[in-house]
């Protein structure tokens, strides 16, 4: 059973060998795999998305009707003081929570990555917020922040304060309280991502630094952190995008109050376009503007940190 390979002779016509059976039918194979997901995506994601684009230029209400009104919704939005207040509040929220989450996540990941006794138990505890639904977390913190809740009892018990703090009933403190919830919940996933990056940090560099006499702090600052900079940026971008769309915390815990002090862009959108008979067209315009903001925020963060990734 020897196979003799014949070399084609010069001048003879080269005939293309027939494609194998798998290759001939290859064009539809990916479709079979992707098709069901694509259908679901088209129905439940792309069509509503396209619908939102169309609705943003109409005065349709949540029960239908309406007509095209051009850019009227966007003009009204530009003059809507409540929207700009919600916009500013959301950006303050982002500016305060993102650095804290990134710093905490990096710190916690460094600690968890250290080989210490009981670190696996700490790891489980750290990641537990990730598996809890945000609505559950929000309800839990509503009890924590009540005037007679855990936070006040703890602070009074430790003689830090004499009177309960109005965590949820002060226009100033309410937003800070919500930020604490976002940070508590957001740290878990960010820590997990950072921890994964830490596992890939080169041991050789550490050993070289040790030989040079560098201590833990110096090694962390000069060796570890530069190596995970790309992941840190990714975490920051992901958290920023998530925080720009913050909704559950203000919706469940404060309802946007007191007096709109915790009303974020998405909560404002919700009040404008979800209740019966409200303005679905206007709410769609808000969601388009939010979409643009998220894109811009992500692009700016990405651009600012380009050097770090290089």
């Amino acid at each position: 059973m020897t196979t003799v390979l014949r070399r084609p002779t010069l001048g003879a016509p080269i005939r293309k060998a027939p494609a194998p059976a798998m290759r001939r039918h290859r064009w539809y194979v990916p479709l079979v795999f992707v098709g069901p997901v694509l259908v679901v995506q088209v129905i439940f994601l792309f069509t509503p998305l396209a619908n939102t684009f169309v609705l943003a230029f109409t005065n349709v209400s949540t029960i239908g009707g309406g007509r095209f009104v051009g850019l009227a919704n966007f003009t009204a939005l530009a003059q809507d003081a409540a929207f700009w207040a919600a916009f500013g509040r959301t950006f303050v929220y982002m500016a305060c929570t993102v650095p804290v989450i990134v710093a905490l996540a990096t710190g916690l990941a460094l600690l968890v990555n250290t080989k210490l006794r009981g670190s696996s138990a700490v790891r489980t505890l750290l990641f537990s917020p990730m598996v809890m639904p945000l609505a559950t977390v929000a309800v839990m913190f509503q009890f924590v922040f009540r005037s007679d809740g855990l936070a006040n009892q703890l602070l009074i018990g430790l003689n830090v304060i004499a009177q309960p703090l109005p965590f949820l009933t002060s226009s100033t403190l309410a937003l800070v309280s919500l930020m604490i919830v976002t940070i508590w919940k957001g740290c878990a996933l960010s820590t997990l991502i950072t921890l994964a990056a830490l596992q890939n940090v080169s041991e050789e560099l550490h050993e070289a630094a040790v030989l040079d006499g560098a201590r833990w702090l110096r090694r962390t600052w000069s060796v570890t952190l530069p190596q995970i900079r790309g992941t840190t940026v990714l975490v920051a971008v992901l958290v920023a995008i998530g925080v720009l769309r913050v909704f559950t915390e203000p919706f469940v815990i404060t309802g946007g109050g007191p007096g709109g002090a915790t009303e974020t862009i998405v909560l404002y959108l919700f009040t404008k376009g979800i209740s019966p008979g409200t303005q679905a067209g206007y709410a769609s315009a808000i969601s388009l503007v939010l979409f643009a903001f998220v894109l811009v925020a992500a692009a700016i963060t990405w651009a600012l940190t380009r050097r770090g990734r290089a």
Binding site: F46, T47, P48, A50, N51, F53, V54, L55, T58, V60, S61, T62, I63, G64, G65, G66, R67, F68, A82, Q142, R146, S147, D148, P164, P166, L168, T169, S170, S171, A174, I253, T254, G255, G256, G257, P258, G259, G260, A261, T271, I274, S275, P276, G277, T278, Q279, A280, Y282
Partner: protein, 434 residues
Amino acid sequence: MVRSRAVLGLVAGACMVAAAGCGLGDGGSSAAAVDVSGQVTGTITFQTMQLSPTFDGYLKGVIAEFEKQHPGTKVTWNDIPSNAAARKTNADAVANALPDVMDLDTGTLAPLARKGLVVDMAAAAPELKGGFIESAWKSLTFGSTSVAALPWYLNTPVLIKNSALLATAGLTATPDPTSWPELVEAAAKVAAATGKAGFQPTQVGFPNYLLSLGVPLVNDTATEAAVNTPEAVAFVESLAKLQKSGGIPADTVSAQQRGEIETFQQGATAYLETGGSRLKIIQQNAPAVFSQIALGKPLGVAGKGTWVVAHGVAVPNTSKNAATAVAFAKFLTSPATQLALAKVSSVFPSTTSSLDDPYFTAAPAQPNDLVAQARSLAAASLRSGHTVVMPPAVDAEFSTALWSAVQPAILGEVPAAKALADAQTKLTTILKSR
């Protein structure tokens, strides 16, 4: 070239789908009169809000009786959770697929009625008007639609009191408060004597309090808000004082819906104005507090009036079988059918003759039967004609915006007059956008 055409085609297709999906071609309102004089026959769909499984037996009986009285008819019943009712009704309205007969609260009914999407019952069943409680009939009037639905079951409050707290406060011998300002006074006394709150104001209740004080909430044409009146300012200022003195719970402004019932169950408030149906919940959750409960007449019944809310039975203009649908709506809201519902539930009928039944008028067989006492008190309030309905424009969006605006004033962060002036501006913008 071919590829770019395909992309263009896809984009165009997506836009068409999107435009069709959003119901832009619907045309919106159509207040044209619907012919309901046809033969009562054929199949209709009937949708209720969270009545199953508790009232399965009752509703199946009503449907069977209707089908028996009208041979050739078939009613297909569907029950939906109340928290999904608004979204489903909105989606059905956009898709022109509303059920033939709908049980709706006023908040969900209002936008349909304002756009003239439901049969005007003032035209379809004018002969029934006299049989209903006037305030219930009026509560279903929205914009161009005189009466958007036939009134079905009602709810109106009684005053529930924690007699142990009132005894500690030395208020046992004092007559019950009959108005909100009197309740505020009593709450201040309770707080001073016991350290507990008098009552807990709520977002849902706040427009009712103002209405009961004589604040109109909106102008005659419902195009402008009217909440910044001296009575409203004085009331909000009094709430701010109570917030400082502990007369209302410290977490009032951040409390969730129905939080006032939880607070009362914990024995943290002395008064709770709510529907009698809550008594069973309190009995179940807090038997110790329940044993201390005494009942009083609802606030406002001796003055500008106390609140009443109605569920309506509406028929959409798009119904393919409007004659049968209206006939079923009439049957469902007839005095006998409503009385039967009231006897198996804790709601009240909207028909005056049903309220004259001994079930509502007779004294409770057992003096300690709080549920029967509450039923008797609330029915008396309904019969007295001292019930007032919220202007139709005051819906969930209005209530939320109003409560949000007065929250800083209750907390003492801004003056009440400024908060109400801001609220008025904000609410007028909402009304004008409709």
